[in-house]
Symmetry: C2
Subunit: 197 residues, 2 copies
Amino acid sequence: MSNFIEPIGKLINSFTKLPGVGTKTAQRFAYKIIDMSEEEALAFAESVINCKKKIRYCRVCGNYTDMDVCSICKTRKADVICVVKEPKDIFAMEKVHEFSGVYHVLHGTLKPSENVGPKDLNIDGLIERIKEGDVKEVIMATNPDYDGEITAMYVSSVIKPLGVKVTRLAHGIPIGSDIEYTDEVTLSRALTDRKEL
Amino acid sequence: MSNFIEPIGKLINSFTKLPGVGTKTAQRFAYKIIDMSEEEALAFAESVINCKKKIRYCRVCGNYTDMDVCSICKTRKADVICVVKEPKDIFAMEKVHEFSGVYHVLHGTLKPSENVGPKDLNIDGLIERIKEGDVKEVIMATNPDYDGEITAMYVSSVIKPLGVKVTRLAHGIPIGSDIEYTDEVTLSRALTDRKEL
């Protein structure tokens, strides 16, 4: 970035910290900022600072919130808890408009290879919620990859003794996809989990 | 964006103002900001404000600079002036490392359809520079599209009477490309401008 004068170089450098943004894209973003009016650029910078300063984790479920307890925990019945890896998974689930229970964010998954154990995840909080509340079912909605699977298994083994029903999101062929192009693992899982019509 | 709490929604909205960034990407950017440390996020916002506040146009050539006159105008001989549409074209030219003259930024091109005329461009500044200085050649490096071509023609017709040599970047088949896939206009131009070996 030797060609750039310092303030532009620094801004380009900032933008490259965003996921999937290389120097070329960062350069285009920087030009856009320079082309903005002063108010627009200030509003842009303020939205960054504001978001970082105001957002914290919900005391109950670990979701992002700008209050003490998030709006989902505040307004919904807590008889079904959907356990997810990260707050962004909640946004994905909410878009479906079919789940009306509450969430619990683990803030990660077990990673034996990187020494991430149960104590590093928000599992104790989940146990407490089950012990205290009137929870009937816990849906494990961690990703269907290695780390997500072992996390679902582990959490399930810990909370089942508390007398709660534990379920897992179904795996199988995605709707709209082609069987021809479905990978073997998914196809094998779809076969094992086949349903009677 | 109804699913998002206000500070996150606002930040996502900010990011969608960047070129080529849709809601999904803006969402990923926002999560990244939330995951940053407070110092990192502050530094990010500051680089936006700083860039916007410090960057102005060079008094001589119209390039971006954080001083009164840009470093190119300050250090190079002004006998050859390369005329470009926007400051970002200067960065592109500089990457070639083959041009050692100075630049002149028009800040746009003529657009008869949108009522952008000669008075809206930085053409008077160029005439002044030619009249005052010891300019031997002006290279027209506007884009090879309709607006760029008529701008090059117009500027050329205005400055030629001042006794300066006016040239245009060569058009033709891009290096490394396939003749089979070259569009007709480019190929026709390459044929017209063919060179003796």
